[in-house]
C-alpha cells in the first residue's frame, strides 16, 4: 500500500518535472559577485571576437601563420586542457576498478569537471577549424581518414564525452527524481568507466602523437618518439593535481553544500592523491631521463633552451614532487596545494613547450598569441565555470545520495 502511494506521487512528480526544470533554470544566489563582475565582460568580449573570427577568418583575430598553424587555442585549450581533465579517468579507475571506495565522494565532481572540460576545451577545436561545417565528415563516414592520429583523437573526444556523460548521468537522474532511469544508468557505469579509461589512455597519448610527424619543427629536447607515453604518464599527475587544486576551491566556494564530515574526509583524500602524484612523477622523471639518454641530446642542455628545459624539470616536476612527499609526511595540506599548483604550471609549460614555445624554436619570427586569442581562451574557461557552478548548485554532485533519498523516505513515512 505504501508502494501505491509512492507510485502516485511519482506520477505527480513527473507532471511537475517541466515546471521544476524551468524553475531550476533561474539563477540562484547573488548576481554582483567579484567573479561575475570579472567574467561577464570577458565572456561578452570573447563572444564578439569569436563572431569576428567567423566573419573575417582566423587571420583577423589570431597570430597564426603558414609556419605556425596551431597556436594557443590548440596548444593550451585542447592539449593542456585535456591533460588537466585526466583526473576523471584516474579517479574512476581508482574508485570503480580498484574499488578504493574512500574516493567515492569526489568522483562525481571530478567526472563533471572532466566532461565539461572536454565539452568546452575540445569544443574550442571548432573555433580553430577553418571549415567547421565539414567537421561532420570524419563522423558520418563519407571520408574516414583512418591513417590520421587526429582522426583517432577526434573520435575519442566524442566517445569519451559520451562515457563521462554516462558516468555522471545518475546525478542528473537523481536531480530530476527519475529513480528508474538512475538505476539503469548506474548499471552502465562500470562499462562506461572501462571504456573511458581505454579511450583516455589512447587520446591522452594521442595528443602527443599528433606532433610525431613534426619531428623537424619541435626543439630536440622536447621532441621524442616517446611523446605519447610521456603525455599519458603526465596526464595522471596533471589530472590529479587539477582535482586537488580545483577541489580546494570548490569545497571553499560551495562550502554549504558539503558536510563537516566530508570536509575532513576530503583532506584525507588529498594526501592519497598527493601520493599517487608523487609516484607518477617519480616514474615520469626517470622516463624523461631515459629519453634524454636515448635521444643523445644532452649537449643541448647548456643552451638557453636547455636551461628552460631544466627549469621545467627541476622547478615544476622535481620540486612539486618533493613538496607532495613532504606534505604527506608532515601532514600539511597547504604544501599539497602548492605542489598541485606548481605541477599544473609545469604541465602548461611542458605542453606549450612542445606545441608553441619549442615549435619552430629557431624561426626568426616567433608566434606570440594575440590578446584576442587569450581573451577567447579566458572566455571559454569562464563559461565552463559558469556551467559548472550551475550544475553544482542544483544536482547532487558534492553532497552524497542522502540529499536525494530524503523525499523518498518522507513518502514512505507519510504512507505509514
Amino acid at each position: 500500500m505504501s508502494q501505491i502511494e509512492t507510485v502516485a506521487s511519482a506520477e505527480a512528480q513527473a507532471d511537475s518535472r517541466w515546471r521544476f526544470l524551468l524553475s531550476e533554470l533561474k539563477p540562484k544566489g547573488k548576481i554582483f559577485t567579484p567573479f561575475n563582475i570579472v567574467s561577464v565582460p570577458i565572456i561578452i568580449l570573447g563572444l564578439i571576437i569569436i563572431f569576428i573570427r567567423f566573419w573575417k577568418g582566423l587571420g583577423a583575430v589570431t597570430n597564426l601563420s603558414q609556419t605556425v598553424p596551431w597556436g594557443l587555442w590548440i596548444g593550451f585549450d585542447v592539449v593542456t586542457g585535456v591533460a588537466f581533465a585526466g583526473g576523471a579517468y584516474v579517479l574512476t579507475f581508482m574508485v570503480y576498478v580498484l574499488n578504493l571506495k574512500k574516493y567515492e565522494p569526489i568522483v562525481r565532481v571530478t567526472v563533471l569537471n572532466g566532461f565539461l572540460a572536454y565539452l568546452f576545451y575540445a569544443g574550442a577545436l571548432l573555433l580553430d577549424l577553418g571549415r567547421p561545417w565539414n567537421v561532420i565528415n570524419p563522423i558520418i563516414g563519407n571520408s574516414f581518414g583512418t591513417s590520421s592520429v587526429l582522426f583517432l583523437v577526434a573520435w575519442h573526444f566524442m566517445l569519451y564525452m559520451l562515457a563521462t556523460l554516462i558516468e555522471f548521468s545518475p546525478a542528473v537522474a537523481e536531480w530530476l527524481g527519475m529513480e528508474r532511469a538512475r538505476r539503469i544508468l548506474k548499471g552502465m557505469t562500470i562499462g562506461a568507466v572501462i571504456f573511458g579509461i581505454t579511450l583516455s589512455t589512447l587520446h591522452q597519448s594521442g595528443l602527443g602523437a599528433l606532433y610525431l610527424m613534426a619531428v623537424d619543427k619541435i626543439h630536440p629536447l622536447w621532441y621524442t618518439e616517446f611523446i605519447p607515453i610521456l603525455f599519458f604518464v603526465s596526464s595522471i599527475f596533471a589530472g590529479l593535481s587539477m582535482v586537488i587544486f580545483e577541489g580546494s576551491i570548490t569545497y571553499r566556494v560551495f562550502s554549504e553544500k558539503v558536510s563537516d564530515k566530508d570536509h575532513k574526509h576530503h583532506d584525507k583524500l588529498i594526501f592519497g592523491m598527493a601520493k599517487v602524484c608523487a609516484g607518477a612523477m617519480f616514474a615520469y622523471l626517470f622516463l624523461k631521463l631515459l629519453i634524454l639518454v636515448h635521444e643523445q641530446q644532452w649537449a643541448l642542455l647548456s643552451t638557453g633552451f636547455g636551461a628552460w628545459y631544466l627549469l621545467e624539470i627541476v622547478g615544476f616536476v622535481i620540486l612539486p614532487m618533493i613538496l607532495f612527499i613532504s606534505s604527506i609526511k608532515q601532514h600539511n595540506l597547504v604544501l599539497s596545494k602548492i605542489a598541485a599548483v606548481l605541477t599544473l604550471v609545469g604541465i602548461i609549460l611542458n605542453r606549450l613547450n612542445i606545441t608553441v614555445i619549442g615549435f619552430h624554436w629557431d624561426a626568426a619570427v616567433r608566434y606570440v598569441p594575440t590578446w584576442m586569442e587569450i581573451v577567447v581562451t579566458l572566455a571559454i574557461i569562464f563559461i565552463e565555470i559558469w556551467v559548472f557552478r550551475w550544475v553544482i548548485l542544483r544536482m547532487p554532485v558534492l553532497s552524497k545520495l542522502s540529499k536525494y533519498r530524503k523525499p523518498l523516505t518522507h513518502q514512505i513515512n507519510e504512507a505509514e
Partner: protein, 287 residues
C-alpha cells in the same frame, strides 16, 4: 583515367611478364598497380625566367607574380603562388631553384588528414579536396617542407598547394610548368623513368652534376626530383630531412591502438572482477 590505363598497359608491355608475375604474388590492396607520375627539375638548366610561375598562375586562376627571384632572397610559396623560383649565389655561380610541393611517395599530409581531403592519388600527385577539408591544418603541422598554405584571411578558407596539375593530367595533358619551361629544365614522366633519366645525366656529365638526386630518398622518396651542380644545402634544400617516410613516425602509435583497445578492457575487467569480488576472495583464502 584513360591515360592511366594506357600508361599502365604500356608499362606492362615494356617491363614484360616477369614483373607481372611478381606483382600478382605481392598483390595486396594497399599496393597500387599504377606507376606514380613524377617531375624532374634540373637546376643546371634553370635560368630563373619565371615562366613556370606565370604558367602556374594561369593554370590555377591565380594572380600573376609581382616579385621576381633575387639572389639570397627566400621567397616562400603562398596561397596565391603555388610555385616560386629562388636564386642562390654558389661556388658554381648563380643557381635558380623552383620550389613547390614535393608530392612525397608517402606524404605526411595525407597520413595526417582525418577527412582524406589531402590525398595521395595512385597516379602520384598529392591533391586537396575542398568538399572534405575541415580546415584543421594538421597537414601543415605535419608537412616537413611546409608546403600546404592556409587562407587565414577568408571566412571560407582553402588549403592551397601545387597539385602537379592533377586536373590537367586527368585530361591527358602534362603539368603547366613542365609544358611552359623554355629550357626543358622540368621533365614529366613516371618516377621510374625520371630516376633513370636523372642517373643517366649524372653519369654522362659527371663534371656538370653533383652526384646526388634530391628526392630519391628524402622523406621516403618524393615525386619531385632535383638535380644540381652543387651540394644541395648550398641551394636552400633541407638535407637533414629524414630518409624514411614521415607517416612511419606515427606507425608505432597507430599500429598499437587496436591492440590497446583489445587488451585494456580485458585487463580492466579482470582487475575489476578481482577487486570487487570479495566473497570468492575470502573463500579462496580459507581453502
Amino acid at each position: 583515367m584513360s591515360i592511366n590505363r594506357r600508361n599502365f598497359l604500356k608499362t606492362l608491355g615494356v617491363t614484360g611478364t616477369s614483373i607481372i608475375g611478381a606483382r600478382s604474388l605481392s598483390a595486396s590492396p594497399s599496393v597500387s598497380t599504377v606507376e606514380m607520375k613524377a617531375v624532374l627539375i634540373d637546376t643546371t638548366r634553370c635560368m630563373g625566367c619565371q615562366s613556370c610561375e606565370y604558367a602556374c598562375a594561369e593554370a590555377n586562376d591565380l594572380p600573376e607574380p609581382e616579385d621576381y627571384p633575387e639572389v639570397d632572397v627566400n621567397r616562400a610559396t603562398t596561397t596565391e603562388q603555388l610555385t616560386v623560383v629562388n636564386g642562390y649565389d654558389t661556388s658554381e655561380g648563380e643557381i635558380y631553384v623552383k620550389k613547390q610541393c614535393f608530392h612525397c611517395n608517402q606524404p605526411a599530409c595525407d597520413a595526417a588528414c582525418l577527412t582524406k581531403a589531402m590525398h595521395k592519388t595512385d597516379d602520384g600527385p598529392v591533391i586537396w579536396r575542398e568538399e572534405k577539408c575541415m580546415g584543421c591544418r594538421y597537414c601543415m603541422v605535419s608537412c616537413p617542407f611546409e608546403v600546404p598554405k592556409f587562407e587565414y584571411d577568408s571566412p571560407v578558407p582553402s588549403i592551397r598547394k601545387c597539385t602537379m596539375c592533377y586536373d590537367r593530367q586527368q585530361e591527358g595533358e602534362i603539368p603547366a610548368c613542365v609544358e611552359n619551361c623554355p629550357n626543358e629544365a622540368i621533365a614529366f614522366g613516371t618516377r621510374r623513368e625520371l630516376l633513370t633519366e636523372a642517373r643517366r645525366r649524372i653519369s654522362e656529365s659527371p663534371d656538370q652534376y653533383y652526384n646526388y638526386i634530391y628526392g630519391e630518398k628524402e622523406a621516403g622518396g618524393t615525386g619531385v626530383l632535383y638535380l644540381a651542380s652543387v651540394p644541395f644545402e648550398e641551394v636552400g634544400f633541407d638535407t637533414t630531412v629524414q630518409k624514411e617516410s614521415y607517416p612511419e613516425k606515427t606507425k608505432g602509435f597507430l599500429y598499437s591502438v587496436p591492440s590497446i583497445f583489445v587488451l585494456w578492457p580485458m585487463m580492466l575487467l579482470g582487475l575489476y572482477k578481482s577487486t570487487n569480488d570479495k566473497e570468492s576472495e575470502d573463500t579462496g583464502d580459507q581453502a
